[in-house]
Symmetry: C2
Subunit: 403 residues, 2 copies
């Protein structure tokens, strides 16, 4: 019998209990032993809830119960969640989490602690919700040198951009609809400014290079400046606009990781990742391109990912099932200013001549608009592009990187 | 030091050696120990090959060397490959294979043998080439009851269908081009008649239900009857045509598995899987839909998948790393005649009235063609559809299932 404790009885926490109870036959068969939820830690009581008898308010009850071998930390935050995770690992209990903020901030340290205590720290649900991505990177693409990861990691912004593309709606109006439907938070900043995607790409990048990638050091740009006009030009060019989280590895072990709205060809598999779905496009030096696609959020998909970690831990009681390499040492980050790409610029109609003088290797995009003018530059360094944009001054209406 | 033997120095075999040698740092780090190829078994000699000194002609050399703990069977076929696999497993050596024919035929038996000998039988490369799909199903989607799998599992036919769609070319002409480019075999039957996809879906189905699914009992239809006209109608309806391998689980544990060309909506993620790529779309009862996408064949992608199995085995020397459930007991198969779906029919123009009398709940597809007439039926049982088609006689030009 495997006894599990769930920390936090919110959306994901109640999902974890539901998955373990409803799919008990499948989960227990895969774990090799019967599994049950012994405790649910929450500050609240849940009178009438079918699992109300399992609710406890004191973490020590869980910590001091030798029967509990696996703890699911689905509280969120980096305060109590961090303390409880450390205490559980210190006691040799494996911890499975969906808490991307904590993983991004303390992943390397918690993995090391788990290893020394012969238990595991697992975080499949921290990136891509229900999509298996952490485990495939750690346990399936083991023959590969991963060269790059390009991903749509935030469902809220992908939903907004998909709506804007399909309906020609503007950003503010679409955000409001998304909030009404529950796809966006009342305070949407973490999503729409790209911070959520940034934490996730920092986690993927750390696993890719085996060193710590600090999410706070990554360039992050959100979707708030994207307009229907930008989509008109993208469409005319056979492209779409996605909030892409990218991570590119260099020969010397350094990486360029960032989050930014990006124009990409309609032919790219990520262009077909729409609505609240996520997609992670991985390029390995031997296998070429693979993509993982699915629901990046939601109660049951996220809970399913947490429980897949629980099953993994259950099969490795008394020893660590961690195979990833994520050292505390900081990865060397490339300055994006020195990297090269092409850019889409939208300028006022009066700046038509200026733009083709500034970027003589580029071309206009014909979208049948007279209010403004769309142009795609030649491939150039980010810093040179930024320099030239200064000359456009307030005639520059928007700029979007090309994939 | 982990010593590996490679059986068969053909395309995949030389790829396996290349991946282990070229990505040795990555592979050894993930395996937790240095890995090297000690033997290559082949009937031929390879003078001048960088690894010619490792070539042996007698399998007993490998079998009797206690240093060899992992054998890669990449010979193909169900004769010697089967004998060598059994002998290796009997001797406690793990076997990793890309041989879908052998896995489909003897998977359950070889898995059981490996388990009793505390070693592993692994076959990531047998389905989807470089795409991680076997391992995600076995080790990642462990919290799920998998409800269905819909997949594009054959790169050759997907390449042909993609070309036919994009260029309006006919089947014979496109097949010839594919053969010239090396994307299709000189004898293309196993691919174009769907047998290759059938073996692969039998493997996935066996893992899905945990019982043996005999590939020879599955309905299999190839792509040889698909014409440019069918694509014209599909396009007019916002659809495309793909060779889909499907497996649907029922509540009582029975399944419906088959391979057939299928019209599916352009909005479906599998519709964006083009050229030689494969895609596997899995629906679980908790996480909803996930898709795995990548190169379904080719030397290095396939070899990368074999080596990912080798790494898994290397981490479990002396014990079995098998987590899948695939009993010898035969799965109960559903008779497709009793299942329901809609159908596309293309009939001679003179049968226009007959077709809408036969299928009163359907609708015509307007593609601006006068030679023939496209129609989509109501959802109905396969056997009722077949019965009604008899009345169309030779006026029936083609019929294609809808997804």
């Amino acid at each position: 019998m495997i006894s599990v404790a769930v920390l936090g009885y919110g959306t994901v926490g109640s999902g974890v209990v539901e998955v373990i109870e409803n799919n008990n036959a499948e989960v227990s068969a895969k774990a090799g032993e019967e599994m049950h939820v012994k405790y649910i830690l929450d500050l609240r009581d849940f009178p009438g809830d079918p699992y109300e008898d399992r609710v406890v308010h004191d973490f020590r009850v869980i910590l001091e119960d030798p029967e509990v071998s696996i703890v699911c930390e689905v509280m969120g935050g980096v305060g109590a969640a961090y303390q409880f995770t450390r205490q559980a690992l210190e006691a040799g209990k494996s911890v499975c989490t969906s808490n991307k903020e904590l993983v991004a901030k303390h992943g390397a340290e918690l993995l090391e602690l788990a290893r020394t205590k012969n238990c595991s720290y697992m975080f499949e649900a921290s990136v891509g919700g229900g999509i298996p991505i952490i485990r495939p990177i750690n346990k399936a693409l083991t023959a590969e040198k991963i060269e790059s990861i390009i991903a749509i990691l935030n469902g809220t912004t992908n939903y907004i951009l998909t709506k804007m593309e399909k309906e020609g709606a503007d950003y503010a109006q679409t955000l409001k609809q998304a909030q009404e439907l529950g796809y966006a938070e009342r305070n949407p900043e973490a999503d729409v400014e790209g911070h959520d995607a940034c934490r996730k790409v920092a986690i993927l990048s750390s696993l890719m290079v085996g060193k710590n990638v600090d999410s706070e050091k990554l360039y992050t740009e959100g979707i708030t400046r994207i307009t229907p006009a930008d989509f008109e030009y993208a469409r005319a060019e056979g492209m779409t606009i996605k909030l892409l989280a990218t991570s590119v590895g260099y020969e010397d072990g350094s990486i360029l990781a960032m989050v930014a709205p990006t124009m990409l060809s309609k032919e790219h598999p990520l262009a077909a990742v729409n609505d609240v779905y996520n997609g992670v496009f991985v390029t390995g030096n031997m296998l070429g391109d693979v993509m993982f696609y699915g629901k990046g959020a939601g109660k049951l998909p996220t809970a399913s990912a947490v429980v897949s970690d629980v099953v993994d831990c259950a099969r490795h009681i008394g020893r660590s099932s961690i195979v990833c390499i994520w050292d505390k040492e900081e990865a060397k980050l490339i300055d994006k200013a020195e990297t090269e790409k092409a850019f889409f610029v939208r300028v006022k109609a009066i700046a038509k001549d200026t733009v083709c003088k500034l970027f003589p290797g580029g071309h206009f995009v014909e979208a049948g608009r007279s209010e403004d003018c769309g142009y795609i530059t030649e491939v150039m360094k980010e810093k040179d592009f930024a320099e030239k944009c200064k000359e456009l001054g307030e005639n520059l209406l928007n700029e979007i990187r090309l994939a």
